[in-house]
């Protein structure tokens, strides 16, 4: 059957019924369908008959399979607090073909697992008693995080990174409800339709990566990094106006206007998620992840306020010449040829508005082996660790000047090297840089001279 032979494709009632069957009915569609159903009993009968065809097809297909398959479809429901529906599947097994009696039915039950916690960050913590059992996330679970990040992977392929403090309800295999906190969703095409509901509206993914933020006293916001989402305002606001956000678009809910309005994308929050993916967690300070950069480093911080740019440089690079880093105690350690290192540049910049100070506390999943911050050593290491597209021009005071007392730069590490406290001060046109060095594999020949 070709599209041209499809006489019903232009029938509005059937088209809307198709959307309803596919779970894609928008508010406007629902209103249009209601209007058509108001047209008379005939329209309602036609709708019932068309939807009934779907049921009849299911029944025909079910009749084509044997009794065991019917029994395995019978599932039971688990009920959970807060009236959230949860399921358990009761799978029935008919163990014997003998139909002398039906005494061989046996049902087993198990909770309906829809996702698992695949990774958590160093600062991550559940609120006691409100966490998934054995890392398995079930429908109806309430995930309450007090800090850090947790990455959830759903069975349909959707991945959600949750940033605490956050309270998240798992509504179904394709929907979560965010009471507060931040979530970054990566939804593959197959899982399109995945939704995040909030008290201000429901955000439906149409195959994309997007961020939803909702913090106490702050408006709910959404930023689409890639793809498309559809926002449905909550019914309590009395509006059915839906809107779509495409790549690099953002919106926030305006409680005064009771609708979603345009807003600048929340790159800073997205950057925090990116850093977490690299193994860094920013506990304080303005640190922006800059994954792709070319040309001279910016004179002004990209956020417009003093802070740091985290630039991934050479990863797992085998040195061909010796470079010198300072270990966590501040001693100079040469790293000879053959040593494999990974480098991140932490480049700080002000707001071009006079003297400035920037501080941060960053944790790292792997211990930081050492740093390079003297101007000369930074310059020597540029050839091997720096990226070819970046112009590392030596500007005045690019290295740190560590000294005690006010006005000096400060740097310290936790004993295990997994936390770094950094504070830099500079004049309007100055910048400060520091390379974080991770020794992936020491040189086999022994320490370099």
């Amino acid at each position: 059957m070709t599209q041209a032979d499809d006489h019903l494709k232009d029938d509005p009632l059937i088209a809307l019924a198709d959307l309803a069957l596919e779970g894609r009915l928008t508010r406007e569609d629902a209103l249009e369908l209601e209007e058509l159903l108001d047209g008379g009993l005939g329209a309602v009968q036609r709708y019932v008959q068309y939807v009934g065809l779907q049921a009849a097809l299911h029944a025909e297909a079910a009749a084509a399979v044997d009794e065991d398959d019917f029994l395995t479809r019978i599932q039971s429901i688990e009920q959970r607090r807060r009236m959230m529906t949860s399921w358990k599947i009761a799978a029935a097994v008919m163990a014997c073909a003998c139909l002398m009696s039906f005494t061989v039915y046996k049902f087993a039950t198990w909770p309906w697992v829809v996702a698992s916690v695949v990774e958590t960050s160093s600062q991550f913590e559940w609120k006691k008693g409100e966490q998934p059992v054995d890392g398995q996330v079930r429908i109806g679970d309430q995930l309450h995080m007090t800090s850090g990040f947790a990455d959830l992977r759903f069975l349909n392929g959707a991945q959600i990174s949750v940033r605490g403090p956050a309270l998240l309800d798992v509504v179904s295999a394709k929907e979560v409800r965010l009471e507060y906190g931040q979530v970054l969703l990566n939804v593959p095409g197959d899982a399109a339709g995945f939704a995040v509901s909030t008290p201000d509206g429901r955000l439906v993914d149409l195959g994309t990566q997007f961020l939803v933020s909702r913090n106490t006293g702050v408006r709910t916001g959404a930023t689409v990094r890639q793809g498309l989402i559809e926002i449905h305002p909550d019914e309590k606001f009395g509006t059915s106006e839906t809107r779509r956000l495409a790549t690099n678009e953002a919106a926030v809910f305006d409680p005064g206007k009771k609708r979603w309005v345009d807003a600048p994308p929340d790159w800073e929050s997205l950057s925090t998620f990116d850093l977490k993916a690299l193994g860094f967690e920013v506990l304080s300070g303005n640190v922006m992840y800059v994954p792709t950069f070319s040309g001279p480093l910016p004179e002004k911080h990209l956020s417009g306020k003093p802070g740091f740019h985290m630039i991934p440089e050479r990863q797992s690079y085998r040195l061909t010449e010796t470079i010198r880093m300072r270990d966590r105690e501040g001693k100079i350690v040469p790293l000879g040829p053959g040593t494999i290192v990974t480098s991140f540049m932490l480049d700080s910049a002000g707001d071009r508005n006079g003297d400035w100070t920037a501080s941060t506390t960053v944790t790292s999943k792997l211990p930081i082996s050492g740093v390079i911050y003297e101007l000369g050593e930074l310059w020597i290491a540029n050839d091997q660790l720096g990226l070819s597209g970046i112009k590392y021009d030596p500007t005045q005071g690019a290295g740190l000047e560590l000294k005690n007392g006010p006005g000096g730069d400060t740097l310290s590490f936790s004993p295990d090297g997994r936390q770094m406290d950094l504070s830099v001060s500079a004049s309007e046109l100055e910048r400060d840089q520091i390379r974080l060095i991770f020794v992936v594999d020491p040189a086999k020949e022994g320490p370099a001279k």
Binding site: A30, E34, L53, V171
Partner: protein, 186 residues
């Protein structure tokens, strides 16, 4: 986390009662699912309501014993559960038809049970006139364990194109059933 475990097991209700329930449920499941779909058309939502309905039916069955008319009883339970589900989903911001329209649909559906049975018979004829390939596709997409994504992958199609193909087949069957109901051959 706290979970309430609910089991259907032989000790709880007796094996014979359980077997009786399953036989009745198997016979009524087509009409039951149709009743749910009329109010909750999206497949995954309907599955959720169906599962909850089965659980409630079994509990009632255990407590009250077999009803006089299993089909009528199960349909009425399903309608109530579907309405509760719709209310919950509406609170969560999901788009639903208004209560008035859902009531209207439920009434028309309840009054059309015999007609829908007849249409099901006509559907069998229409399926018989389809090509083997189209019929096999429908059976695999509407089967109990069906996954459109899996079928699309097996067929080397995108999910969207498979949905379009299914929609065209559905339209063709709907027209075929309508023709047969009006006394014309497919």
């Amino acid at each position: 986390m706290r979970r309430t475990e609910i089991k259907i097991d032989a000790d709880e209700g007796g094996e014979e009662l359980q077997a009786q329930f399953l036989r009745s449920l198997r016979d009524a499941q087509g009409a039951l699912y149709g009743c749910i779909l009329a109010l909750v058309p999206a497949g995954s939502d309907a599955d959720e309501v169906f599962q909850e309905t089965v659980w409630v039916l079994w509990k009632e069955y255990q407590a009250e014993g077999p009803p006089i008319n299993f089909s009528a009883w199960s349909n009425s339970v399903a309608r109530n559960i579907a309405r509760g589900y719709i209310r919950r989903e509406r609170r969560r911001g999901r788009v639903q038809l208004s209560e008035a329209h859902l009531n209207m649909i439920a009434k028309v559906h309840a009054g059309s049970s015999e007609l829908l049975e007849l249409r099901q018979e006509m559907l069998r004829h229409c399926l018989g006139h389809m090509s083997d390939g189209d019929r096999a596709l429908l059976m695999s997409c509407y089967g109990p364990e069906a996954s459109i994504h899996v079928v699309a992958r097996k067929q080397g199609q995108t999910t969207a194109s498979l949905y379009s193909r299914l929609k065209r087949l559905r339209h063709r069957l709907f027209e075929c059933v309508n023709r047969r109901m009006s006394g014309r051959n497919p």
